[in-house]
Amino acid sequence: MAESFPIEASGLNHFFGEGEARKQAIFDLNLNIERGSLTILMGPSGSGKTTVLTLMGCLREVQDGSVKLLGQELNGASEAQLVSLRRRLGFIFQAHNLHESLTAAQNVLMGLQVHGNANPAKQRAAADHVLDLVGLADRRTYLPGNLSGGQKQRVAVARALVSNPDIVFADEPTAALDKESGHTVVQMLKTLGQTRQTTTVMVTHDNRILEMADRIITLEDGRVVSDRVPKTTL
């Protein structure tokens, strides 16, 4: 097999609604994303970028066309196949979606325990290490309710990264962060790509981080209208 992409989409169409109300959201999308790259999806709201993200992230059923994720075809995949694929992904949501009853460290631990719990001490150490990386070493035992918005988002980033995912999907991860911590988060994702060959796909409106991407894809009305490399990376 020649060069394989971690994400390959071809002839992808997606529809919402039934019957008369049925509306096409994605039109014949063809997209290959390279391993270790940081790709940003842009576009006005309703352009389909979040739909593309959820289709690639095994969160939404592929109706028509093909999405190959890490070599596995998603169209027609079983629930068990999807669940085991999801374990190789990391998700960072716009809302942090932390569990309010778990401490910062326990929330991060959830990202590891999905792979089993063979070595709890090692897992705790890994969770602490990642929290340290996002600058929250002293907030380990805090409940989300006692953390600021930015701190919560950094815990969510730590949770997504702790299991060394093959691909990270992020939806507006910097929206709740100030410029500096936004930069830090994206820099972390970028460094991961370079050192561990982690592929990142990010939906964002945040112009402050565009220059850090390897590739910027703009969607409009469910179609790719521009696919470019930012000047600074050249």
Binding site: L59, F91, N97, S101
Partner: protein, 391 residues
């Protein structure tokens, strides 16, 4: 607690952390389960007291087989049977001995003017082998006319009288126009059946109940020869005696039949059974309410976990973990309060309301089962956690 559960489950105890995070909900849920447990314990306690008072009079007897009239319902609520049956029974091989037993309710007016009813047992005093060894000591004195043995738990009887009797004293009283003399005490406990109990000779019995005759006792008690199976003799008796109007039962089968009658035919048994059912229903509804609200409140988090790759068994595990936590935490206070209330009830009513280990274990298993069922119903809400909605 959290560390213990982590080791137990091999993962973070999310269910416990979720429940303990919302203290108000935890307290409400635990008190709900406790209340349901308490309700069931109280019903079972009173039902247990009913059952033990139903079979208590058997403690007075020492017989292998009881022959009674088909018309009767229980040992103490019996019809009359011809004494001629006793002689027929004695002719059956394997029957060692037989005696008539007379039973009646004797009204007795207390010093304060209230009337209590004393369940009276008339024995043939020449056959002490048919009474329990527990009253054998005073049984001999019943040969004297109008003497009786009085139950210690007789309602309305001053403790001083009972104490004096136990110490060897006498207590004279009038009942049904007849003067009786208590010469000893026994420990039977009537509870629901009567206010008290008396053991007396058949002669004293017939004097106290002028309408009864010696030819029509309520039961005939039999003992079988050594080494002969009771069941075999019961079969032979059923063949030898006319089947119409005569009931032949081994003593333990007779006690069991009395229990069955009280729990299924008498309204009391049905009422307590209904009470148990209501308690279970209340518990089910409360636990379901709490767990399904809890699932609904955490749909966002569950959807996130789904996106991270957690499968359905993980979520079922959380809900069942919560159900078990509620069952355990609700059961313990329910048990403690019930033990206290049992003691109170025993003191006030004199009924034999006792907590025994088998009932506690049974109720605990019932609580676990009910909580698990509620949990299982609540898990249906999990389907609403859709990770695609998170973006």
């Amino acid at each position: 607690m959290s560390r213990l559960l982590t080791n137990l489950f091999g993962r973070l105890p999310i269910g416990w952390l979720q429940l303990s995070h919302n203290k108000a909900r935890l307290v409400a849920a635990v008190s709900g389960v406790s209340f349901a447990t308490l309700l069931v314990f109280m019903q079972l306690g009173i039902m247990g007291a009913l059952n033990s008072s139903t079979v208590a009079p058997y403690g007075l007897l020492s017989a292998d087989i009881v022959i009674s009239s088909e018309e009767g319902n229980t040992l103490t609520d019996a019809g009359e049977i011809a004494r001629a049956r006793m002689f027929q029974a004695l002719g059956v091989p394997g029957v060692a001995d037989a005696t008539p037993l007379y039973i009646g309710n004797l009204p007795f007016t207390l010093d304060d003017g209230s009337t209590v009813s004393l369940l009276s047992f008339g024995f043939d005093v020449s056959q002490p082998e048919f009474v329990s060894p527990s009253i054998a000591a005073s049984f001999g004195s019943l040969t004297i006319e109008n003497t009786v043995i009085l139950d210690r738990d007789t309602r309305g009887m001053p403790a001083s009288v009972i104490d004096a009797l136990t110490a060897g004293g006498r207590y004279e009283f009038e009942a049904n126009g007849n003067t009786l003399v208590a010469v000893g005490t026994m420990n039977i406990g009537g509870g629901f059946l009567a206010d008290g109990m008396l053991a007396m000779s058949d002669q004293t019995f017939l004097r106290s109940f002028p309408a009864r005759t010696s030819s029509a006792p309520n039961h005939i008690l039999l003992n079988v020869d050594d080494g002969v199976s009771v069941d075999t003799v019961v079969e032979r008796l059923r063949g030898a005696l006319p089947s119409a109007n005569v009931k032949v039962l081994a003593a333990d089968a007779s006690a069991q039949a009395d229990l069955d009658f009280m729990s299924s035919e008498r309204p009391t048994g049905i009422i307590f059974g209904f009470g148990v059912f209501m308690g279970i229903l209340v518990g089910l509804v409360i636990v379901y309410q709490v767990l399904s609200t809890d699932v609904a409140d955490h749909l966002g988090e569950y959807a996130t976990f789904k996106a991270m790759g957690y499968g359905q068994p993980f979520f079922l595990g959380i809900v069942f973990e919560e159900a078990i936590v509620l069952a355990v935490f609700g059961f313990i206070p329910g048990l403690i309060v019930s033990i206290g209330l049992y003691a109170g009830l025993r003191a006030v009513t004199g009924l034999p309301v006792e907590m025994d280990a088998s009932r506690a274990i049974l109720v605990f298993l019932g609580t676990l089962t009910a909580c698990t069922i509620s949990g299982a119903i609540a898990t249906r809400r999990l389907a609403a956690a859709d990770p695609a909605d998170l973006f």
